[in-house]
Amino acid sequence: MRFAHEPGYLLVVDDNKVNRILLARGLEGDGHKVETAENGKRALEKLRTDSFDLVLLDIEMPEMNGYQVLETCLRDPELRDIPIIMTSSLDEIDSVVKCVELGAEDYLNKPVNPILLRARVNASLEKKRLRDEQRKLFRTFATREVADELLRTGFSLGGKYVNASVMFADIRSFTAIGEKQEPSDTIELLNNYFALMFEAIVGHNGTVNQLEGDGLMAIFGAPIHHDAHREHAVRAALEMIELLKGFNIEQAAQNKIPIKIGIGIATGRVIAGYTGTQYRATYTCVGDTVNIAARIEKHTKEAQRPIMIDQYTSEGLPNDIELEALGPMLFKGKQQAIHIFAVKG
């Protein structure tokens, strides 16, 4: 049997057995998988143990009414993304309006009209699928917090000044590596490598915002501000080097080429915002700090240190992070020398 829409996993909440059976059977007939709960308390228990795509929620219930369930869900970060359709009788229209204002996805009058039921449920499921896909996409580049912030603010393209730490990382002599092996091996190596680096960066509240060849750029402290963005960036860098050791052991075991990377971090004021068009936009940072981070990263090879940071990044780092002062350095195009430190792994 084929259904016009993808089936979903739905929770029907109603204290009235007739309504529960009616809604559940109607939805099951449409191919959905349906659970039921007879009051608000049971509904929340089920919502917390299983992952539902949509809730049909009665307003009038003993123990905990639909309004209270809705409020609880909207306050809970784990539950607030599940769309909720309120079901009510016609004369409860005031309560329904209140629920929709509060954040319910939609409403249905009881006795429920089967055509409307199908249309609203499928529309809500479709919207949720789109949101889930969007979120999944963002999450490959950013933390959950950032993804949520982006969805919440709706990608306003306005820029602003923020204080952040910017990281650049590159694989050394990557072009030469690419010439020594099969193209498929090179792409596989890059994918495995990026998977590890993303884990370290996202794990320390960073956002990877650019990939170019074998290089990446990440931002710490924006778009969501964290006071400890310097430390986050440095700890991410240390974890990247640590993960790379394991990666190289595996490479060696398969007779493949081990890789070395260089990481440069600079801290300061950057202009951050979304750049691009309505169809393709990325969160990015521009400004002097970004240029300095890129220059420091380029310099790691010559200095033979895997992680190097500027003076602003070094300020206020916890004592367990060991630094080696490399002295002032004058970078091309800069008027003033910058004090550089190597981070000991």
């Binding site: 204290d15 009235n16 057995k17 007739v18 309504n19 059976i21 009616l22 059977r25 109607g26 007939g29 009038e60 003993p62 009788s89 004369d91 009881k110 006795p111 429920v112 089967p114």
Partner: protein, 111 residues
Amino acid sequence: MSIIDPATFNELKQMSGVDFINELIDAFLDDGPDMIQNMYTALDEKDIESFRRNAHSLKSNANTFGATELGTLAKELEFMAKENNLEVGNRLEVLKEAFGKVAEELKGMRT
């Protein structure tokens, strides 16, 4: 005139599927007397909220099956409770009697 509106009932049958109409009827025949009993208890205990909620549920079910008159009676009681008025007179007896008739008719509509 039938006490069950045939158009509403047929629509319901269509929505639930012929297989499930019996399950629905049984649920109503099971729960209906409890709702009415709860209303009597609520009246004794002056529990306006419980009275209102049970009247609301009965109204909702009556309307689902197309039992228009029963629905109207339950709705009246629900609205009285909403206005904090439990001076229901013999309305609860009338409601109980109406439910009995609806129940008889629904039993005959099982397939």
